[in-house]
């Protein structure tokens, strides 16, 4: 839903008087900046944006954006945002959350929000660690990880957030990374334009407690070989055009691209949920590059807020006072003279 008359504003208008309080070098800065770039290009006026967050380093973001915002409690941002969005469907509501906030304490609200499909944009800052509480493992930390709360290594195997989102019937599932502002911006715009619940996993470096978690996916040398950026209708190509992915049965395989010939390669189809699931499972296989981009997008499912509004519209009573007074009397009332 778009507001009728969008007022113009710039990234600079989004600055607040609050000092940004992330550690120097934190990946959160890049995400904030990308958002500030994207918002002015969208169809809503500045006052119609709302950022709702939970608790965590990432969840501080709303304070640094001069839109409406709520920094709520740990894990509950999605539930709060759902109440807001269904109440005020004309607003553009964004959820800012971390891997602990969204996937640990807030996991239930996340999966239910995904299945219900309200038109929210959820940005999940995944740094594979609890930043704010100073470095415990999170549900995305790799097994065996040594942290403050796992001095001899974790025994919990992590979530695959993309697979979880697909298994929860998410209608828009994407992944991007802090070190690629262009890609981020593209993905945030896509998320915004998706009618329904958009989940964007953002790989974010916590340089204090989990530095370098995604290094091989962000550093110039290794990035081409460890990542693949998918686009709808385009073949799955990576390694600077030298490698591609084919689908053999249900298995993805890396092949060499000879003479730029991409024939037979897997063509990305955002609308194919099975393919999306296979993409999500690249995660489990170190030989496959990590996919970024819109992995799945299904615009056919109506949004929760849309469905609710339709019910409200259908039932709407004009004279509510009259109707209420009638309602009081409707059930076997009697008169005493």
């Amino acid at each position: 839903m778009e507001t009728a008359h969008k007022t113009i504003f710039t990234s600079k208008d989004l600055e607040t008087d609050q000092e940004v309080r992330w550690c120097p070098g934190c990946g959160d800065y890049a995400i904030l900046n990308s958002l500030k770039k994207v918002l002015p290009e969208l169809d809503h006026s500045k006052e119609d944006f709302v950022f709702v967050s939970g608790i965590g380093c990432s969840s501080r973001l709303p304070y640094y954006m001069d839109t409406y915002g709520m920094h709520s409690i740990h894990g509950r941002a999605t539930a709060i945002a759902l109440g807001l969005k269904t109440s005020r469907p004309e607003l553009s509501v964004w959820v800012i959350t971390g891997d602990g906030d969204a996937l640990s304490i807030g996991g239930n609200h996340l999966i239910h929000t995904l299945r219900r499909n309200p038109n929210l944009n959820i940005l999940l800052f995944n740094n594979q660690i609890y930043g704010l509480t100073k470095g415990q493992y999170s549900p995305t930390s790799e097994i065996g990880k040594i942290t403050k709360s796992s001095p001899i290594g974790t025994v919990d195997s992590p979530f695959n957030p993309i697979a979880l989102a697909l298994g929860s019937n998410g209608t828009f599932v994407a992944r991007t990374l802090d070190r690629d502002p262009k890609h981020q911006q593209e993905i945030y715009k896509r998320a915004y334009h998706h009618s329904g619940c958009s989940l964007v996993e953002v790989y974010q470096n916590c340089n204090v407690f989990n530095d370098g978690a995604f290094e091989i996916m962000t550093e110039k040398d290794s990035k081409p070989f460890t990542t693949i950026f998918v686009e709808h209708g385009k073949p799955l190509v990576f390694a600077n055009g030298t490698k591609g992915i084919v689908l053999e049965g249900l298995k993805a395989k890396v092949v060499d691209i000879i003479n730029g010939n991409t024939e037979g390669l897997w063509i990305h189809d955002e609308s194919d949920s099975m393919k999306a699931y296979i993409l999500s499972r690249f995660f489990d296989n170190d030989e496959l590059p990590r996919p970024f981009g819109v992995l799945y997008a299904d615009a056919s499912k109506p949004s929760l807020d849309g469905l609710i509004q339709a019910q409200l519209k259908e039932k709407r009573i004009d004279n509510k006072t009259l109707a209420f007074n009638d309602l009081l009397k409707s059930k076997n009332s009697w008169e005493v003279q």
Partner: protein, 614 residues
């Protein structure tokens, strides 16, 4: 006809049977017909925790207690004049509260060997025949058989035919109390409008029961209970959960702020959800969340957006909401939290009533987190008090806890309808339009310390709020020591200020020079008030104060208590309001407590007071 008519001022009837027997319907119909006739009534349904407890067993007994009278009725009554027992278990469970020489109407077919066994009664010791009921007037009939005979012509299956026996019984009791069948006939026709044969069978059973009363000459006399003298007006019968739903909805209509209900089902609160979700026409959104936390959080999100956030639950669910109540307190947004209390702790006694969540309501949050707490005193009062909950929440920009309980939730009484024009105005503090006159400060305060909330979408007022401590006026995060103390005190004072807008407390009975005082709160109103009235009639000068506003307490309460040496606090818990009274007023108050999942009996209260004053 040889029968005579006995005039009574009030009569207590208990319908009891297996939970599959439909006695709740029998009771409700009898209650409604009596209310329509003009009696005052109070009802008390009491059913097993199981959906369908095993047929014929003691835990499977379902009961519906009904008190009807020709003048004010405040409780469903301590003991029954009439006990309708559809099987042996129903008789066994309920006999202890039947008055001496009371009437028993028993279904012979429910006392066969199998039913006796299920009720854990020796098969050779059928109470209908062993003389054990000699102290009562026992009337028996083969109700099951008679029902089946009566409806045979419509060709229902055996089970379906048998199921009409609740209507047969209803007919029989209608005859006994000389009531008109029309209301129930209308009801049956509507209920089974798509199942003609079922409708016809039930109507036939109803009529057959009535005629059996008339022709069998089984009863020595009929009862007559005159219509009560009511003030002029439109009345209806209402239970607490209906009244709560309507009060919330009415306040939303009056204030022009539509409800967002974010909730999760739980006994005995679910019916508020059921009722409210019927009313989407009032722009009402009802959201059945994944859990209680999402319920309250979605309501907070809605309030933040300029709706009226409401959440409903019972004790275990309220426990889960406490963290979010803290957030709402920090955000200083309106929010109504309804706790329909039940027996605790933990899962406790889900279908039983109790007042044991008061301390949780007052103190059950981390940090200094004062909460407005109010409680309804009768089923119909739920309408006014839930309305007041909304009014306070919107006008003071605070979360408000509205307390009801299982007894109020399911109990019904006639209620003189109060349409919206008779209800107080409700203002609110949402800013929805840009306002250039001055810079918006989210935590600037009005005289009563409420704040103005600019809802998202309002141009030029963009701002951020959250659960971290905030600087006064600006709302920016602040770790400043003095500011924190200031904010804690402001939030406390803001709650105290609510008292300025509330009615002063009055005595229900007696006055400040009475010999002793009994203080109650919430659903015990009927029992305490009746007990005190009777004690006063017996010559004991007892005063009664009934609290509906518990935090803040009415500003004149301290003064009212001053003269009393003897103060009782009566509650359905192990002593909770009493802590507040002792703490605030340093009175050596004494508790009258019952923790049995059941309302007070009038005599229980009277006995304790008499015993203590002698």
């Amino acid at each position: 006809m040889s029968e005579t008519t006995k005039r009574e001022q009030h009569v207590v009837i208990k319908f009891a049977g297996d939970s599959g027997d439909g006695v709740q319907l029998t009771g409700t119909q009898f209650a409604e017909t009596s209310a329509l006739f003009g009696n005052d009534i109070a009802t008390f349904p009491d059913f097993p925790a199981e959906i369908r407890a095993p047929i014929g067993t003691l835990p499977g007994v379902s009961g519906f207690q009904l008190h009807i009278g020709d003048n004010e009725i405040l409780t469903p009554g301590d003991t029954y004049d009439v006990l309708v027992a559809l099987n042996a278990a129903a008789l066994k469970v309920n006999l202890k509260f039947l008055k001496p020489n009371g009437i028993i109407i028993a279904n012979n077919d429910g006392f066969d060997d199998k039913n006796l066994r299920l009720a854990k009664i020796d098969e050779n010791d059928n109470p209908l025949h062993n003389g054990s009921l000699d102290a009562y007037q026992v009337f028996t009939a083969d109700i099951t058989k008679l029902t089946k005979l009566a409806v045979a012509e419509f060709g229902l299956g055996n089970k379906e035919a048998e199921r009409c026996k609740n209507m047969y019984v209803l007919g029989l009791v209608y005859w006994l109390f000389d009531r008109n069948l029309q209301h129930s006939i209308d009801f049956i026709e509507k209920q089974f409008s798509k199942k003609e044969l079922v409708a016809k069978s039930n109507i036939k059973a109803l009529q057959a029961g009535y005629h059996f009363g008339e022709t069998s000459e089984m009863f020595g006399n009929r009862f007559e209970i005159a219509a009560a003298v009511y003030k002029k007006g439109t009345y209806r019968s209402i239970n607490g959960n209906q009244a709560t739903a309507l009060g919330l909805l009415g306040a939303s209509v009056k204030s022009g702020i539509p409800i967002f209900l974010g909730t999760y089902p739980i006994t005995p609160a679910s019916d508020i959800l059921h009722e409210l979700s019927k009313h989407k026409g009032f722009d009402l959104i009802s959201f059945q969340a994944e859990d209680e936390i999402a319920g309250i959080c979605s309501a907070i999100g809605a309030s933040y957006g300029g709706r009226l956030g409401v959440t409903t639950s019972s004790g275990p669910g309220i426990a889960l909401k406490t963290e979010a109540i803290g957030l709402a307190t920090m955000l200083e947004l309106p929010l109504v939290i309804c706790n329909i209390q039940r027996g605790g702790p933990s899962t406790g006694l889900p279908t039983k009533t109790e007042q044991s969540d008061l301390l949780q309501a007052l103190y059950g949050r981390n940090g200094e987190c004062p909460l407005v707490v109010i409680a309804a005193s009768t089923p119909a009062d739920c309408y006014e008090m839930s309305y007041m909950a909304v009014k306070i929440a919107l006008e003071h920009t605070v979360p408000v806890m509205f307390l009801s309980d299982g007894y109020l939730a399911n109990g019904a009484q006639p209620w003189m309808i109060k349409t919206l024009d008779e209800m107080p105005e409700i203002s609110s503090h949402f800013i929805r339009q840009a306002n250039d006159s001055k810079e918006y400060q989210p935590y600037a305060r009005n005289a009563d310390l409420s704040r103005e909330h600019a809802v998202p979408g309002t141009p030029g007022m963009e701002h951020r709020i959250g659960g971290l401590e905030k600087e006064n006026i600006t709302g920016n995060i602040s770790y400043d020591a003095a500011n924190h103390e200031l904010m804690v005190k402001l939030r406390a004072q803001k709650v105290l200020n609510v008292a300025d807008t509330l009615p002063l407390q009055t005595f229900e009975h007696g006055n400040k020079d009475s010999k002793a005082l009994i203080i109650g709160w919430g659903s015990t109103f009927g029992s305490i008030s009746t007990a005190v009235k009777e004690l006063r009639e017996e010559g004991l000068d007892i005063a009664h104060i009934h609290l509906k506003y518990i935090n803040p307490l009415p500003s004149n309460l301290g003064e009212m208590l001053q003269n009393f040496d003897k103060v009782f606090v009566a509650e359905l818990n192990n002593g909770q309001l009493i802590r507040l009274i002792r703490d605030k007023f340093l009175k050596d108050a004494q508790g009258i407590n019952k923790i049995q999942g059941q309302p007070f009996q009038i005599t229980e209260i009277k006995d304790i007071i008499k015993h203590n004053l002698q």
